[in-house]
Amino acid sequence: MDFSLFCAALQNSGLAQWINTTRGVYTIIECVHVIAITLVFGAILVIDLRLLGVASNNRPFSSVSRDLLRWCWIGFVIAALTGAMLFLPNAISIGQNRQFWIKMALIVVAGINMMIFELVTARSVAVWDNTLPTPVAARVSAALSILLWTAVIVFGRLVGFTAVVDDPFAEVL
């Protein structure tokens, strides 16, 4: 199936029409999306700053991570769901938006970075849990993570400024 036809089908779906025509729904979803981003980026930032040895150094890394990762995942699931709901009513224009695809690519790269950290670097966490500095690989991963998630936020905001003419919400962004 052609991608633009797929986007058109999404935009004409019942859910997209409901989001598009029911007063305040789109705005509420946007607000929940912002709160979810706050949970994801905030939790990641605190964990990464601990890895970098900048803050929370009086706690073991595993404690910091355990306290915050659940909030990060809750936020990520909500952000993905609300993000999909924001995509639907504007699927045709956002589907052609370069900034949106850069944002998606950055999320994938950030996910790969996180996976490598969990599968490789974090396996030896018992060795460096209470010590500073953390291994070089952990610090590189943390710095990369902060940069990538900051870029995700920046490109997410740029999507609103590069909307295609057909976007029904373009004028209020």
Binding site: L39, F41, G42
Partner: protein, 172 residues
């Protein structure tokens, strides 16, 4: 309203509004600062509720996160001022903006009172001490305020849609 339109026509406002990068950059910094401030408040509140940051005293938790929240608040104020200058009528006429500012004032007052309490009470220096019911209720109230402020910040762009005839934006 005439004053706001005139403000929007000043060279600095026009420069900001017409620039391709000023508003998106300021909004991005604004969102990142919202994230830092909100997460700092969230962790302190979770520590008060006994849900997170256990094994560290409330005083130490506050010392770790409160400075980040204050610095983020200063940056939020600065970027907020730039955003107001870029679109004075849309921002200043929005009812959401003024409710947001009122709630922010309440949040700051609650935070200052809380910080004083934590600083002056020796009990909060002990890692094993968990705060009482009154302070827990205040933590929940604080989290509700943060969520409401984030909602109202986003409502500014949709003020007339959200508030209808109550919104001054909708009358112009």
């Amino acid at each position: 309203m005439d004053l706001l339109i005139a403000l929007g026509q000043t060279p600095i406002s026009l420069m900001m509004a017409n620039s391709a990068w000023v508003v998106p950059t300021m909004q991005s910094i604004h969102i990142i600062c919202v994230t830092i401030a909100s997460m700092s408040v969230l962790i302190i509140c979770l520590r008060v509720l006994g849900v997170a940051w256990q094994g560290v005293s409330l005083r130490q938790t506050v010392a770790r996160f409160a400075p980040w929240a204050w610095v983020a608040l200063i940056l939020l104020t600065l970027t907020g001022i730039v955003l107001i200058f870029a679109e004075p009528p849309r921002e200043i006429m929005a009812l959401s903006m003024w409710i947001k500012m009122a709630l922010l004032a309440v949040l700051i007052a609650v935070a200052v009172r809380f910080l004083r309490l934590v600083r002056n009470s020796p009990a909060f220096a002990a890692p094993e001490v968990n705060p009482d019911g009154a302070l827990r209720r205040r933590a929940v109230f604080t989290l509700c305020l943060v969520v409401a402020i984030i909602f109202l910040g986003r409502f500014i762009a949709y003020d007339a849609l959200i508030w209808g005839r109550l919104s001054p934006v909708g009358q112009f």
